[in-house]
């Protein structure tokens, strides 16, 4: 397990930046930056990632606050949907030619 402070000599914590391009859209991860605190992270994110009207809203999140799946566990963690293609509309072929279905 590593957190930003573990990277030797990194003075400021790491933040992930999310931008909402327009009303009605989700915030999307656009990159990361280091900043001394949340306020500075937000201001830096604005200057760095929205110089051309890229967004109407910005989120910054300390990377250490994000819990992620383990990349090495890919199989075990995501395997369960395999063999469950009946969860997709494509699975139901008999109705393929029926209009509005």
């Amino acid at each position: 397990m590593s957190t930003p402070g573990d990277v030797a000599g990194e003075g400021w914590p790491l933040y992930e930046v999310f931008v909402r391009a327009n009303r009605g859209l989700s915030h999307v991860h656009v990159g990361s930056l280091h900043a001394p605190d949340d306020d500075m992270a937000l201001r830096n994110a604005r200057d760095l990632y929205t110089r051309r009207n890229e967004g109407v809203s910005v989120w910054v999140v300390r990377s250490s606050a994000i819990t992620t799946s383990d990349p090495d566990m890919k199989g075990a963690f995501f395997e369960s949907p395999a063999g469950k293609n009946y969860r997709h509309a494509k699975y139901y072929e008999k109705s393929a030619e029926v209009p509005h279905l």
Binding site: W12, M40, T68, D70
Partner: protein, 329 residues
Amino acid sequence: MTLTAPDASALHPDGDDVAELQARFDAIIEADQRIEPRDWMPEAYRKTLIRQISQHAHSEIIGMQPEGNWISRAPSLKRKAILMAKVQDEAGHGLYLYSAAQTLGISRDEMTEQLITSRARYSSIFNYPTPTWADMGAIGWLVDGAAICNQVPLCRASYGPYGRAMVRICKEESFHQRQGFEILLELSQGTPEQHEMAQDAVNRWYWPSLMMFGPPDDESPNSAQSMAWKIKRFSNDELRQRFVGMLVPQAEVLGLTLPDPNLRWNEETGQWDMSEIDWTEFHEVLAGRGPANAQRIQHRRDAHEQGAWVREAAAAYAEKQAARERQAA
């Protein structure tokens, strides 16, 4: 565990696992997928990327200086505003790239330290002086132009954070090249003196911009490995040829000539024939003996040292706020 910091277990796997990890890495590269920060990667791949991305970041940051010098002297308010926006973009490019390098486990401070103690390289193009306003045009057209040519294929680099940084950068670069082109066009169509100034700048920047693609393929020992890792997608000479091919018709529109009497399209080889590049000059500049090398590094070091109190104040303020929150809780 975080999204972008490298995972300790990815950095130091158990000995037995390495072959299997290497096989998985190779398969990802083979399938044209991307390597992400928390994936295991060969140490040489990590080192190559750190060197390349940090050099690239340094180039963006040092590259602010020749143009920054001209902001106050640009001939109109509009030109000042444009130049300021461009220089600000270059700062942004540097930061995107430093962030990408940081995902590989090197700290920002370490990279800055390498730069200001002259242990890191940056593009030697920024060691040339910029005596006239036309240089701002030539830099935008030729230097940003060559950078774009180099960078577009890097958007598909096998390391995810690097490729994503390059996508952002490339989107912003096209404005840089166009504003440079327009500076030259206006000068070229202006008074005879202005036309002469534009031609002189193109004469000085043409060859250095071709050198930006690096040494010829047969003298570029690391290229093959970078291509195998799919960091690099085209050889230095391929990109140089492509760039020259784009410049020829653009120079015609500008009404300026490219300073190479031997430049012509060769039907038989399907290549541009051109004069021999003077690589001794390139190696001189690369070795730090370029006209402005010492000045660029000194300036960067001064800016870093003079900004120390700002970083300290920000850290002290953050600490104070955090202490207050702890007390309130």
